[in-house]
Subunit: 768 residues, 2 copies
């Protein structure tokens, strides 16, 4: 698989068509605008392997849970990403022969994802079985301006005179490959095919999501508009118009499809279809090209705020932009009800859309790369789901407003049912509190505590205060039955990371209450009433826990102990394992993995990453050098944290090695699963490896700190960030570091712990 | 539900028909002969709730596994108990009205399970909607003589002249309620309806099990044979004959159905149907009554060997006989390929048929109650599956002939897929070794070691030797990632019971090798070659493990510790829990159960029960008094072990309390799940509570030890056992103990540790 796609600084390129990579390419070339998106399915019919996927943010389906053995506390339904109306398809026949790349001779195939402009282009030349040579050029995009608009331009040229039949259709009769009971999720509402328009309204079987898709078709012949007469046809959940006309050899016709996808996520039920109909007509009154230009401009501006440049390593350059591109096409902070799904709009695998990845990996990306309002939406998302988190905790026996956020969710309800994860991988709750802290560190926006932050923190801290128990024999608090970030161990006692973040939550919540109490006493009183917060007794209890919480530490190794019993294992480093045993998750039975010392992703080290200022550099080194050799990095989220920490402790080779393991994960299909969709959230980790790792960037107490180093494989790298919402460019080369304040206000920052000042529009060059 | 069935020393009686108990009654009244069996479905049509179930031993289906989240090592298919051709149904119409108890006025309904004779009787009088009063008397049994034969006698009387239509049918178009993908398991082969015979041959979709069912119908009118002319009809997997005739009011007709069910479990493929046809004709040449009489006699003889008499407590009397009856109808040791399913022939729930229950609870029942050849079959069953157990272990990464017997199985392959059970509840392996030891203790048949016993022991010990690991920091062997018998804790380290039984296996296997080496050197050499057993190095390794194995013990409480971390829990006794929290498995989320101290069934105490001679009575007391208060007994297998141990340490009230919790589990439908089938294996536990608990019976080194006590609620109890394959009766009353040697050879035994001798046919009375 390696190097199937061509390297280019701004593009991902496929030259030549290999059907066995078609589904991988469909994932890699996916496009979207943060509100909706689509896999790169070929427009015309394709009889080879393909995974059709078109997704509209916020529209989901509560699929009935399928489990082997039921456990009390499991949810009955899971919100599932729902594959929806397929708008970009056409049926093309030339002299009655179906155009199908799987049944033709392909002379040329070129596909590119133009990341700078956010557009998907394809050019293919084929000879049909009837001998006619056909050249197709298609261009498709989702508008970054009108978030309900997407469009296709499809150019066709033949080498001889022929009869063309082109069927334009909207297909709402869509199945989810990933449905638990082969159930179809969509019901018919209405379908219409009239003049050059198609309109489809479908409804989900449950929850009554309505999705209207309206399209206007346009034809051009040799650059001139022309109007072949369509034949209309509809059936349940499907509408089409078929256009038949003659095409002279060497001439080109262009088919343009303007599409609006609108749902009752954003419109009243009875307005959804009408809105779509009106909006598409309005959009069709401007050209495809003008819409594309506006959208491209918006993409260009995004890049202007957070591009990363790598010189001397084209593959790395392409990779980091690929990751930034997909993070942006997945989430733009448009709506606090949306979040960052593990596959974004590139696949339907996994129920739910929100993991702790959002807070631990994605939020830091948006915090340094985007306007603070975008990050805030991610916080508000959790605030809006606080009631559900409280319900979720109540279901597990917690009370008094304790909140447990789900492991995986769409609408706040749990979408996962492995007991060792669902009920035990509770450190996620800590990450959600940490995100509030992190946001305030970057933005200084402590008023968010009054707007919802404190309520979330209270729910989370109340959960921790109930989740620990008093070990009377040892006179200390312990936390049993947890699964740390290392999912290769389950149901352990006193996982250091979980206990540490729990303690930290209590401490931070206490500080937050004190802040609100002093700065916003009235709001604090309101929140107290709303949440029945008994400050005196609850804070006293938390103090007691903080004082007596057990955090395992090993005197011999001078390291924090991952959990009770970890050091009782067979302590053989990963490098001493036979190569045939790797990856463990494919080669070993589950019990063997669990019993082993091998770590899937940062666990103790995740704690050091989050709370680095609590530990000195020697503690960082000891723990890193102890744990990393046992770490197999079989989670796509593992290498980035290790890369950042390795850079911090000066292990630059290790930092680069770790960086390489995520950067091209999907581009090179390392895990052989890119066909299911992309690993969106781990893309943020790969970005952070550069910016926080090599760049040594931190923003603490709204102050920018930098301590860059340059991987010896690179000549130079540069990254733009938004600091106090204004752009700053940091360029690191062998001899110098060049920092440019691109904004209109002066900035303060530290470089290698030395404070500096930089005026508006100023650049300063530091010699390394 | 309590007391729905009437108390009677030898019968279970239902008086009056309550449709909501119909499925419970179908389970309770089930009949079988150890080779096949059936739920007590009503013969005529019934439109109310019913769970039809007819099962043929050995015939199973590999149902595709359904899991939520796949783990490496899970099996793809599970053997499932298969519901098969329904032979006992008829369709009865009186003046064209269907007889259906759900659509008639019931005047009288009486159903009894006659346990002494192994027969199911029913009498009902109803008035149809057309005003005709109908009295039905049915009698059904599975022959204990011809294990392929079952029969029905169905008497009908009406209060006025009427037209009768009776359809006799065989229905092979049967679904499993419990199939994972609603798949039908049976395919058509052939069906035939001719003269008074019906013949059906069906085949399973997978594995090609063939089941032939042949029946001969007979009619009698007022005691005389008569021959109404049948109308024949067949369709796929179904054959019927309909008989129409006039019946005068006050007269009685009798319909008799002789049935042979034969499968390729016992016959060559091409002989199955022919055999069934011939056999049924032969059986039909004798009367229903004569077959019933012979079968009853065989049942009477069984009772003669292992009846338990309780005086002064009719409910207890009925209960213990109910349990003995069902154990006998489930398993008679006919075939080493059969075993004791958790629901026997009374339901289809749960895949597979064999749990460690067989070795831990059922085998001890058969060892004291039945000829030693029956117990031996249970050992041979596991020997025959040794190859599969070795494959199973290999799948999990073990090698060199290590064997892990499955948690649940039919044919030796694993039928369970919860990782914490399938991969971790490995103490089951120990129970299988213990069964060999236990069998030899009872029978003295050490030659079984040469016949297969040693090979099984070797496989099991090799597994343990690989499953432990060396804790280098603590210089000891540990066993991580196990689930003990207490399934309310999963994935723990150093479960005392598991580690103890593992050690014991190594020790016993070592002894067994030494025995064979000295007594059967040639066989030992052969086994060594066959298993590549390297005695010197393997035994040395085992010695090292035995020397350095970690077995957690708490100095403060002076008890064995259930596992690392158990004493770090919140140690609140069950009695201090609010009543609303019980049973925990319904009221608490799974994680809360796991984190709690509460024990589902004997864990450390299971070890004390198995290896009682390794521990003094004070250790028994300390451990019992420490662990029992944390035990919720939410497994039907829990109370019996506690009852036996409580009796041993003189806690007689506790012993009786525990006895009561299992004795009438199904008769009184305590767990509200009797409709799914009976809890067959726990029935053995209830028997052992009396014989080993109150009776204090042990057979060690082929020597009978007794130390009876009498529950104060009882006047007297007695139990017959087979000791050295001859019957002995032990009768315990307030003042005396009466022991009768009913056999033809003298016996030696101990009573309260005093040795005694009893000649053939002698009785000795001891004053208490």
């Amino acid at each position: 698989m390696k190097s199937y796609f061509k390297v280019h600084p701004w593009k991902v390129i496929e030259e030549g068509f290999d059907p066995q990579y078609n589904e991988v390419a469909e994932s890699v070339f996916a496009i979207g605008n943060g509100m909706m998106g689509q896999r790169a399915n070929l427009e015309e019919s394709y009889s080879g392997h393909t995974l059709q996927g078109t997704y509209v943010g916020g529209v989901y389906y509560p699929d009935k849970t399928r489990v082997g053995w039921w456990k009390n506390g499991y949810p009955e339904y899971f919100a599932k990403v729902i594959n929806s109306t397929y708008w970009s398809g056409i049926v093309l026949k030339i002299n009655h022969e179906l155009v199908d790349l799987n049944n033709a001779t392909i002379h040329q195939f070129y596909r590119e994802l133009d990341m700078f402009n956010g557009v998907l282009n394809r050019r293919s030349t084929i000879t049909l079985n009837n001998g006619i040579e056909v050249t197709i050029e298609s261009t498709r995009f989702y508008s970054l301006i009108n978030k309900e608009y997407s469009a296709l331009r499809y150019r066709v040229k033949t080498n001889q005179n022929c009869e063309v039949s082109l069927t334009n259709y909207l297909d709402g009769d869509i199945s989810n490959k990933d449905s638990n009971y082969d159930e179809q999720f969509w019901l018919e509402e209405s379908q219409e095919s009239t003049s050059n328009e198609l309109h489809l309204l479908v409804r989900t079987k449950k929850l009554d999501w309505l999705l209207a898709t309206s399209c206007v078709a346009q034809f051009f012949l040799d650059g001139e508009a022309f109007s072949p007469e369509p034949q209309h046809s509809v059936k349940s959940k499907y509408a089409e118009s078929t256009y038949s006309f003659s095409l002279s050899g060497g001439h080109e016709f262009v088919f343009v499809k303007h599409v609006i996808s609108a749902s009752n996520f954003n419109h009243p039920n009875d307005a959804v279809l009408i809105h779509a109909k009106n909006a598409v007509k309005k959009m069709a009154s401007s050209t495809f090209e003008s819409h594309l230009e506006m959208s491209s401009k918006a993409w260009n501006e995004k890049w202007n705020n957070h591009d990363v440049v790598v010189e001397g390593d084209d593959a790395a350059q392409q990779a980091v932009r690929f990751n930034i591109y997909h993070l942006n096409q997945t989430y733009c902070g448009d709506d606090p009800r949306l979040n960052i799904g593990p596959k974004g709009f590139t696949g339907e695998k996994y129920g739910g859309s929100t993991y702790w990845d959002t807070e631990a990996y994605c939020l830091p990306f948006y915090l340094v790369s985007s306007h603070s309002s975008i990050s805030k939406q991610l916080l508000v998302y959790r605030y809006k789901q606080l009631d559900k988190a409280i319900e979720n905790a109540a279901k597990l026996g917690f009370n008094k407003g304790a909140a447990l956020y789900p492991m995986v969710t769409m609408n706040g309800e749990e979408c996962h049912n492995e007991w060792e994860i669902t009920f035990e991988e509770i450190h996620r709750n800590g990450a959600i509190a940490y995100a509030i802290y992190n946001y305030i560190e970057h933005t200084g926006d402590r008023t968010y505590l009054a707007e919802g932050g404190l309520e979330v923190l209270l729910g989370i801290s109340r959960f921790w205060a109930q989740r620990v128990h008093w070990n009377n024999r040892k006179q200390r608090y312990e936390m049993h039955g947890v699964t740390g970030p290392n999912e290769y161990e389950n149901n352990v006692n006193n996982n250091w990371y979980t206990s540490y973040i729990a303690m930290w939550c209590l401490k931070y919540t206490k500080e937050a209450t004190e802040f609100l109490q002093s700065k916003f006493p009235q709001i604090f009183a309101e929140i107290g009433r709303k949440t029945s917060f008994d400050a005196a007794s609850e804070l006293q209890k938390w103090e007691h826990i903080m004082q007596y919480m057990y955090l395992p530490f090993d005197e011999q190794e001078q390291v924090y102990v991952q959990h009770d019993g970890f050091l009782d294992k067979e302590l053989i480093p990963v490098n001493d394992l036979p190569a045939v045993d790797r990856p463990l998750n494919q080669k070993w039975s589950w019990d063997r993995i669990l019993r082993s010392v091998y770590i899937k992703q940062a666990d103790v080290l995740q704690g050091l990453y989050f709370f680095e200022d609590d530990f000195d550099i020697e503690a960082h080194k000891r723990n890193f050098l102890f744990y990393e050799p046992f770490t197999v990095h079989e989670s796509s989220l593992s290498p980035c944290v290790h890369s950042i920490l390795a850079a911090k402790i000066g292990e630059f080779d290790k930092a680069y090695e770790m960086y390489l393991r995520t950067a091209r994960l999907d581009l090179d299909n390392y895990n052989n699963d890119t066909e299911d969709g992309l690993h969106i959230t781990s893309m943020a980790g790969s970005y952070l490896s550069i910016v926080q790792g090599f760049g040594g960037l931190r923003i603490k107490n709204q102050h920018l700190q930098l301590s860059p180093n340059l991987p010896k494989e690179w000549k130079k790298y540069a990254f733009k960030i938004l600091y106090h919402n204004q752009p700053v460019n940091i360029e690191v080369s062998e001899k110098q570091i060049c920092i440019s304040n691109l904004g209109e206000s002066p900035i303060e920052f530290s470089l290698y712990d030395q404070p500096h000042h930089l005026g508006a529009a100023q650049t300063h060059v530091f010699t390394r």
